[in-house]
């Protein structure tokens, strides 16, 4: 604490700005020649500054809130124009997803079409082969050189 205890109250009031008049003049005169009191005053100013951090001070005038709200209400266009821009980029997402799904649908439809045609092709191929196999068996079971079709079949089967 201050070496000059008798000035401590005045220093505290000087720091908070409560000291006026003769007393203020007197303490300021003392401070000119007293470094320990100057140091103490600096510290007290630091303590006083802490007060500013508290919101315990007077509440802002009610009109300031009103004014702020009015100012906000006055700018509907300024606030409207940037909002759609931001919204647009968001609304693009479902459209993009829809486009992707549509492309995928077209691709899978074509693919399934292609595959079912391939299946049909393979089925007809296999039934043809089954037919040829049956004929070949018939020819093999029957006496030789019975018909030219058998010879042809045999040739086909061998080939």
């Amino acid at each position: 604490m201050s070496a000059h205890e008798q000035f401590a109250d005045d220093l505290a009031m000087l720091a908070t700005g409560a000291l006026q008049g003769d007393e203020r003049v007197a303490i300021e005169k003392h401070l000119e020649g007293c470094s320990s009191c100057r140091r103490e005053l600096d510290e007290m100013r630091g303590d006083t500054a802490l007060l500013a951090l508290s919101a315990a001070g007077p509440a802002p005038p009610a009109r300031s809130r009103e004014r702020l709200l009015k100012a906000i209400a006055k700018e509907p266009r300024a606030s409207k124009s940037p909002a759609p821009a931001r919204r647009r980029s968001w609304t693009l997402v479902p459209w993009f997803a829809a486009a992707v799904f549509a492309l995928a649908a077209v691709f899978f439809f074509r693919e399934s079409d292609r595959l079912s045609r391939r299946v049909a092709e393979l089925q007809s191929e296999s039934s043809q082969q089954r037919l040829q196999l049956e004929r070949a068996r018939e020819c093999a079971a029957s006496p030789r050189g019975l018909s030219s079709s058998c010879a042809q079949m045999g040739y086909l089967a061998l080939g």
Binding site: A18, Q20, L50, S54, A56, G57
Partner: protein, 60 residues
């Protein structure tokens, strides 16, 4: 900020209001004394004690 508020709210009411009148309302010690109807010496002591309480809270 919370700490300042906590310190202020734990202070005696008279001490806190003296501090606030001086700092936020810009009243002089004689004006505060006139407003509260208390002796000047009491106001002086309160302001100083209030500042010391703040300092102590932030030293700890």
């Amino acid at each position: 900020m919370e700490k300042v508020r906590g310190t202020l709210s734990s202070m005696p009411t008279a001490q806190r209001s003296a501090l606030e009148m001086a700092y936020f309302e810009g009243l002089t010690h004689t004006e505060i004394a006139a407003k509260t109807g208390e002796p000047l010496g009491t106001i002086k002591t309160r302001i100083r004690a209030g500042l010391m309480a703040l300092r102590k809270a932030f030293e700890a």
